[in-house]
Symmetry: none
Subunit: 186 residues, 2 copies
């Protein structure tokens, strides 16, 4: 009972002892129960859980073993990415002739100041259920907080500072001038 509840899941997907006696290894190894729940959530349509959702999921999954928020975050990130990747591979192999290729999701980027990306990836419909309700709940208490994001400042104010950086001498370079980031000295 001990290791099934506490550690970094020495038993991955049912069998085998992974990490050794303790959870010394730094890599999270989800238990089969955790994977089941995560997969279920994914199949239910959840793709990119928000911070709060991640928090809740993580808290719940912690029942089955050690887990952190970032594990949940990465899991969904990877799962989604690899599903998409797989789908893309299928495209490449199945029908190399033509057509069916370009349905760009309409995200032709607006070239920013530095670079542009010309990724034209074929994207399947990828039905994603965003609203899912396994338990009907009638209330609406949760007074929604205001979502105003007043981020301000911290932009170019630091230009008024002197920023000089001396390159490290650790690296064995013959010579390298110091990095002077002065922009405006008063």
């Amino acid at each position: 009972m001990d290791e099934s509840l506490s550690g970094f899941s020495m038993k991955a997907r049912g069998v085998g002892g992974g990490c050794g006696g303790g959870n010394k290894c730094g890599r999270w190894n989800p238990t089969s129960e955790q994977v089941k729940v995560l997969t279920d959530l994914f199949r239910s349509g959840l793709r990119t859980p928000s911070t709060d959702q991640i928090q809740k999921i993580s808290t719940q999954l912690s029942f089955y073993g050690k887990i952190e928020n970032k594990n949940v975050f990465y899991w969904f990130q990877n799962h989604k990415a690899r599903e998409r990747q797989k789908r893309r591979r299928v495209y490449n192999v199945s029908d190399p002739t033509d057509d069916e290729i370009i349905h760009c999701k309409g995200k032709i980027s607006s070239i920013k100041q530095f670079g542009e990306r010309n990724q034209v990836v074929s994207e399947e419909p990828e039905r994603v259920i965003e609203t899912l309700q396994l338990f009907p709940l009638n209330s609406f208490e949760e007074s929604e907080s205001e979502k105003l994001r007043l981020y301000a400042s911290e932009y170019n104010k630091e230009n008024a500072s002197t920023f000089i950086y001396s390159f490290g001498r650790e690296v064995d370079n013959p010579y390298h001038p110091p990095l002077d980031l002065r922009l405006s000295f008063v």
Copy 2:
């Protein structure tokens, strides 16, 4: 002139040339020296370099390998965002009994011995030094600029759905409350 100094340094960050003779791979892969300098600048307090600063940094870093302005721009963008993201995602869930930090990386590659750029969970209070001067060049400096960051909102906008997940009963757990991922009523 081998590509270990000039090219895009494809693999293993700074050692070995992955990409082949040229840099056909499109993604910048910073050398360990470049990372060190960038990290140092960041640790020194630089967060959002201006265009001019980016230019200077990029020029200097080009000594260690191919680099563009946008690489520097993105690097700071990402580094800052992830520092913050990490801090936000850190407040942890289940079992804070142990370290939560240990990472097994950095055994093979020689980069990790320089900086801690991707350390997990460094509870740094995000000191942002705006004025940094390693080389005294003039008398007046220290014109400290105020930096107040008022960003609010935990940012849940697309999650106008109710997401409740009932935990499977297959596993033999005594009791487990259903996972309620409500975020906002419809």
